[in-house]
């Protein structure tokens, strides 16, 4: 992309002036190679997150070139509420109690890059109020898994011994999280296996009910700064389309009472955002209690840039504001 020499800025608010004259994007490298390129000054930024085995290296030797930014996003594990064993509420809650969020955070890169969570709305998001029932001491925050309670719930559900396949993208972190979940499911008495699939289809494959995905590892990042972007889009009845690759409600969750409340909140939000956010907080708790997913953590975003990049600016909506940076 090159700067248009004939463009005249008519409003700083509408179109703030950028600094760079040209932006070149190149494709085809692995994430490992991209990190090496930036270290060598052959590239200025990488779209992918740095691989986990390079985090310590860039965090120590290239710390001044690393920018860690809060994200309104979450890593979660949708459980298909229409297929056994997760069509059983107790089975879903059992997994929510059993998962050690700290373990998954460790796979992701450590506590400086992620915060454990139990609920849908990320911290700092409109409507968010700290809530975590799935921990040893239920309350506002997650502290530790409760394996004993989880096992009791599995026993009560009568689903022990069933086969479960955990689907995930085949990149290192997603697959490692899936293998960890397999270990937890086996501990709970299920017969779990992992099915890694290409990252190219890891978002569409679990959405289509024809593929009969019981549980998979996913991430969701804000599209716009409103609670409905998480709660209604991911868990609303209208987001569930059986047999479609576009059924973003991967859990197939459709609770009429909660859905009605979502519709109400959407209406209220048009005129009274504060009241709507209070409603979304309630809805967040209601959805969390129904456990159509296991929320793992809220991640942070790591941007690794070259030495010559200055004025790095991050937006939770648009991420790195490329045009606002300069290179020297």
């Amino acid at each position: 992309m090159k700067r248009n020499p004939y463009f005249k800025q008519w409003s700083a608010a509408a179109q703030p002036d950028g600094y760079v004259d040209q932006i070149t994007e190149s494709f085809g490298l692995t994430d490992e190679a991209e990190v090496t390129e930036i270290e060598n000054g052959q590239g200025d930024w990488m779209l992918e997150q740095p691989p986990s085995d390079r985090l310590n290296e860039i965090g120590t030797k290239y710390a001044s070139q690393v920018h860690i930014s809060d994200l309104t996003a979450f890593w979660y594990v949708p459980m298909n509420t229409n297929l056994p064993p997760f069509n059983n509420l107790k089975a879903r809650q059992a997994l929510s109690y059993a998962v050690d969020r700290n373990a998954t955070i460790k796979i992701f890169g450590g506590t400086n890059l992620a915060t454990a969570s139990c609920q849908v709305l990320p911290k700092g998001f409109p409507g968010h109020k700290d809530y975590c029932p799935y921990t040893k001491n239920p309350g506002a925050h997650w502290s530790a898994p409760d394996l004993a309670k989880a096992k009791a719930l599995v026993k009560a559900s009568g689903t022990a011994g069933q086969k479960v396949t955990v689907v995930s993208s085949d990149d290192a972190v997603n697959k490692a999280v899936a293998v960890y979940l397999q270990s937890v499911l086996n501990q709970l008495g299920y017969k779990a296996k992992v099915k890694p699939i290409s990252a190219n289809i890891s978002f569409t494959y679990p959405k289509n009910t024809k593929n009969k995905v019981q549980i998979n590892v996913q991430q969701w990042y804000q599209d716009y700064p409103a609670a409905s972007d998480f709660l209604y889009i991911l868990f609303g009845c209208e987001s569930f389309h059986p047999g479609s690759d576009s059924s973003i409600n991967m859990a197939g969750f459709c609770n009429k009472k909660i859905n009605a409340k979502m519709h109400q909140a959407l209406k209220v939000a048009v005129t009274n955002e504060q009241r709507a956010n209070a409603m979304w907080s309630q809805i967040d708790r209601m959805v969390t209690d129904q456990a159509p997913m296991v929320t793992l953590f809220n991640p942070k975003h790591v941007d690794f840039v070259s030495k010559r990049v200055g004025n790095f600016t991050f937006s939770k909506q648009f991420y790195w504001l490329v045009a606002r940076s300069w290179v020297q």
């Binding site: 310590n56 120590t60 460790k106 796979i107 290192a172 490692a176």
Partner: protein, 344 residues
Amino acid sequence: MTEAAASAPALVGALPSEASPWGLARRRLLRNRLALFMLGVFVAIVLLSLAAPIYAHDVAHTDPFRSHLDGTTVVNGKRVLVIPQSTGGLGIGATPIGPTWDLHHYFLGADNQGRDVAARLLYGGRNSLLIGFFAALITCLAGTLIGVVAGFFGGITDGVISRVLEIVWAFPVYLFAICLSVILVNQDFVFGPVRVGSGSIALPIMIIGIVYIPYVARPVRGEVLSLRRREFVEAAIGLGASRTRLLRKDVLPNVATTVIVLFPLVMAIAMLTEAALSFLSIGVQPPDASWGTIIQDGKDLIRTRPAVALAPGLAIALTVLALNVLGDGIRDALDPRAKVRGVR
């Protein structure tokens, strides 16, 4: 009796047992020190792999199939996290501990799930050797049967079988194995009353065993075609020997030496194929271990913890080398052109 006759060596009657073909082969093999050494190496690898449960349970006190992301161990008398978080710089990243060289505590370090690499290496050896052995067995048995039938009966039978073998041979082996694995690894394999679970190691055994059949069937077929024209076979036919007798007494014993030589070589190739399929996540399925899956686990730790990938890689290399040298030694021992020595 003439003087010449009196001094002629007594060659009539049964040869001493040491001079029988199998006895001679055994003696030649025992004289091949390199082959014997490699046999010892192979046996040691097998025994170590068989000892995996003992090592994991009684020595390392670990469950190599369960994630231990928040686990701890003892290094130099201090209790440490198996996967400690980085404390330097920005404090990002968490790297598993490296080799401690302490048999009781993560001898070769941990993988990205906090599992003991040494214990998984031994368990992985069990699966890799098991798959290699049984896949080679399937290949050699099926290949022998097909090759003997094709070569012995000839005609249309040979024509049809040879064309099928050529079609299978035309596919690159790894591509063929990958195609079969991708289809079968996600669903149970059902063939009549037989049902093989999708996570079962019987699947890679079956797939690898099938794709290498032409590699045994064709040389066996060639051997049988050659045997059919030998004088002792023609003589047996002339004397009215049945097909069963011919196969049992003349063909199979002669073909057996070829198959015996091929077996360790096929086993080595089968183990390499299994490692490749498991590396691609379509062979042995997690949490089960094989040398290929451990290399896959170590792929993302190659910069920080290379031992995770190097250890199974070296294990594969050593085992394949041992099998190849052993195979060469067996081939040299069974060489029919070697002369009988020291008959008195």
